[in-house]
Amino acid sequence: MVQSVTSNALKQTFDRRSFVVGAVQGGIGLLLAARMGYIAVAENERYTLEAESNRVNLSLIPPRRGWILDRNGSPLASNRADFRVDIIPERVTNPEATVGLLSDLLGFSEVEKLDLLERLEGARGFAAVPVANGLDFEKFAAVSVRLPELPGVIPQRGFSRFYPTGPAVGHLVGYVGAPSREEYDAEPQPLLMTPGFKMGKDGLEQYFDLTLRGEPGARRVEVTASGRIVRDLETRDDVQGQPIKLTIDGPLQDYAARRLGLESGSVVVMDCLTGDVLCMASMPSFDPNSFSDGIGRVEYSMLSENERVPLRNKVLQGLYPPGSTVKPTVGMALLGAGVDPDETVFCGGGLQVGSRRFNCWNRRGHGQTNLAKAIYQSCDVYFYAMAQRTGIQPIANACRLYGMQERFDLPVANQFYGTVPDPAWKMEKYGQEWAAFDTVNATIGQGYMLANPLQLAVMAARLATSEKVNPRLIFSNERPSFESMGVSAEYKAYVRQAMSDVVNGPGTAGRARLPIDDVLMAGKTGTAQVVGLNISDGRSGPWRFRDHGLFIFFAPFDNPRYAGAVVIEHGGGSGAAYPVARDVMTFMFDPQKGLDALHALEAGWGGTAQQRLDRQYAAYAQAAGVDLPPAPPPITLARQVDAEARAAADEPEEAATDAVTPREDPTARSDEATT
């Protein structure tokens, strides 16, 4: 029975061990229950939070940008609701395939495709790259449907910046664009990474970016693990950016830009009483609407190859010799230095100083000339002679007092302020003594003298009012009080009359007379030589050798309200400038009359500025094909434009060695001469 005892022992062992196993199982069961209690009860709060953060996805809604308004409250820059598509580069698995499919869906050309690929490669991983905006619903839907094949592509409803008058405000307002790497590094905020967010890249958009920007909204959505949105949970609306109201008169700005037509030039109009800048047009220009999704290579190449530099704001970055437009100011300097306005100088077509003879533009001479005649007939000899008497310093001082070389307190990124030469300046710059011919050049606004169109407009306003009018761009109901310039009422009226005679009397710009009965415009013509007589006659030949045409004006002449300046680059003489001024001022007082004149002109030019720009783009794109360098990012572009403008406006390396010989016909104009 030894066997059966052992069998019983095994049975006992089994009972014992099965109890142990049962206990272990029960223990593990209790352990699991306890563990579950710990996770589900003690740590419930933490895991509930984590489940929520899984389920709920918070995305920022880019704020609507504040509007930029003109003085009457109509928008120069607004927002347009549209459908847009962006890409988050980080989430794209195969950029070529994604861009390829998107290009098919959106009907991109080869160049646009290349641009997009380029932007995608240059982007920071998680920042959205804009693909297209302003899409119609069909295209938007086509992209939305194919989303599973397009990882990282985000189609959304949003707002894009809209500039109703496009190129007319390009330089003034600037444009917007998606933040770049550098901008994000400088300001690392999640907002800058939000798809659809744009920041100001140039002009007022850039200067007032923080004001215009607003506060982003937020949207809470329920998403699946793969990121598909199941439903909206909660939406907090964005706070639109603050609007900015400018002193600009929108219709006038647009009119002036269009009136410049095919020319390369600028128009500035100011309110004499407040200093409000009503118009600051620079043409040719670019279309800021098409810049906001990144600057395409075709557009960039077209703009940068154009010798009329559409990317440069000529009002602030264009510097020109003021030519004869400086003469009323010089006249003020002479009066201030005690010259009697009625004293005459005999002009026989030139002035003998020592062994040198300096020519008047009118080789036949003006005969006996007093100050008034010297202004309205633009007699050079009178000023040569009087300046010999007073010396250069009072003239240079007056030029500065009237706005030249002055940097105005304006919300702009940079303004060039030009040069008013005097002996101290020349000594420092070239290490040479001031010479008689330097004075001769300065009195007729040539030589080293340089000013930008805004300064010329301020000069006109100060001549008109004899007050130190300061320009301003931001609208305010407050009327500033300007410092008086200490000119006697008699002299003020005298110069006003002389400048009125330029237009309305026996002056050089008879055709500038306003076609409005009771408003007389005063002005002063100027022709600035670019090269010497030996290279070009200034009216024909290569465009870049032709003279600049200038005109400063104010109206009405006896009770000035508006003042301004027109500069036409290489217009071939002041004859290119004053018709523009005339039409702009006509529009100011009688818009319909102004528009009629414009429409007649535009019929000959081939449409409005916008239409011509669009056509030019289409033609250029067709001719250029794909083989173009990509556009630089906006920051680089701005620096590039600035550098080129500086180079163009720089003073000569070598000091001038002689006087400029003035043109024989100071109001000439190459193409209008034949009409």
Partner: protein, 372 residues
């Protein structure tokens, strides 16, 4: 003691004690699967119920087999399944890739699953025939060791660590119940401590090593392999005491929880039913396992005791490892939760185990009757 109950014999002898809780559990499982499918009977819940009905039929059929037949059928059954395992391995080699199943048309059969109850069966038969005096001899260790090692080698080749462990566990528990000396277990435990690191570095596939590492520190790679455990804990933890409500579990409904209908079905359940649902599931498993051990203890013969005990342990292995895995106590090994996870093989295996225990229960009752 059963004489007092005046029910007809077939009803009285029907294994209510296990079928009722199991059916409740399966129905509950189907509800969870219905929710995991986004509120739909297909594809999970309906086939889950169907499989249960079929597998229950098989289990009841098994329970009517004569116990002696199962005892003598153990060796041919073991050899057959071993051949199937080899066949799977060869087919895998031919098809160029690892394969675990044979396609039977209506379901995909994993021979390794059948090996789990089979290893218990054959070892029970072996120890029942082994003279008690020899329980301390080398034969009591080496032969079962060989019987276990052979199929485990093939399953590891597949490679399937989870099933290998289940087979080893079932076999070792039978050896333990059979009464082999305690010192061998202590010695074996000590040996494991030495072997485990070696096995980790030389025996495991890189993905398996990664799973172990992830288990030790799930937060180390939250978007990678640790993702499963973290999401599972979030699902269970966010369920709280009463759960988020039927069909309201964001973790499973929005696909954050991986495998919400198979390995992580408990997390899916716990998110929507909370701690109450979890305790219910634990209670059912407790009832079933307690029933199994009771049957084992009451069995008059050694074969029946070992068989019922071993099969109970096999079921326990599934339940224990799966629940420890979803609660972050064990690495992700890919073991489903019996009667709740969607999957035919697991349902069949566990019902075979239940069928085996029911067989022992019925034969115990029959022997008692004949003794009166």
């Amino acid at each position: 003691m059963r004489g007092k109950i005046t029910l007809p014999a077939p009803i009285a002898e029907f294994p209510w004690r296990v079928v009722v809780p199991l059916t409740l559990l399966v129905l509950f499982g189907a509800a969870v699967l219905y929710s995991a499918a986004g509120g739909s009977m297909s594809p999970y819940a309906s086939s889950h119920l169907l499989r249960y009905v079929v597998a229950l039929g098989i289990a009841l059929s098994i329970s009517y087999l004569p116990i002696e037949l199962t005892k003598w059928g153990a060796i041919p059954g073991y050899i057959l399944i071993l051949l199937l395992l080899i066949a799977v391995e060869i087919m895998g080699q031919v098809n160029g890739g690892s394969q675990r199943w044979l396609n039977l048309g209506f379901m995909q059969l994993q021979p390794s699953e059948l090996m789990k109850p089979c290893i218990v069966l054959i070892l029970s038969a072996y120890f029942a025939n082994l003279p008690p005096a020899m329980i301390g001899s080398w034969k009591a260790l080496a032969v079962p060791g060989g019987i276990i090692a052979l199929p485990v080698a093939f399953v590891l080749l597949q490679p399937d660590l989870g099933t290998s462990l289940a087979i080893v566990f079932g076999g070792v528990v039978v050896m333990f119940f059979a009464g082999i000396p305690q010192k061998w277990f202590i010695g074996g435990g000590a040996a494991m401590v030495v072997i485990a690191p070696l096995a980790y570095f030389f025996g495991l596939q890189p993905y398996q090593q990664q799973r172990v590492l992830t288990f030790l520190n799930p937060e180390s790679d939250p978007q990678g392999t640790g993702y499963h455990i973290i999401q599972s804990k979030i699902a269970i933890g966010s369920g709280g005491i009463t759960g988020k409500g039927f069909g309201e579990g964001s973790q499973s409904q929005l696909n954050y929880l991986p495998e919400p209908h198979t390995d992580f079905v408990f997390a899916t359940m716990a998110e929507e039913w909370g701690m109450i649902g979890g305790l219910f599931v634990l209670l059912i498993f407790g009832i079933v396992l307690r029933w199994g051990l009771t049957v084992a203890r009451e069995a008059p013969d050694r074969f029946g005791s070992l068989l019922a005990g071993g099969l109970t342990a096999t079921i326990f292995f599934y339940v224990g490892v799966n629940l420890m895995m979803v609660m972050g106590f064990a690495p992700v090994v890919g073991i489903p939760l019996p009667w709740m996870s969607h999957g035919g093989s697991s349902m069949l295996t566990n019902m075979l185990c239940v069928g085996g225990i029911m067989l022992v229960e019925r034969s115990t009752r029959a022997q008692r009757k004949s003794n009166f």
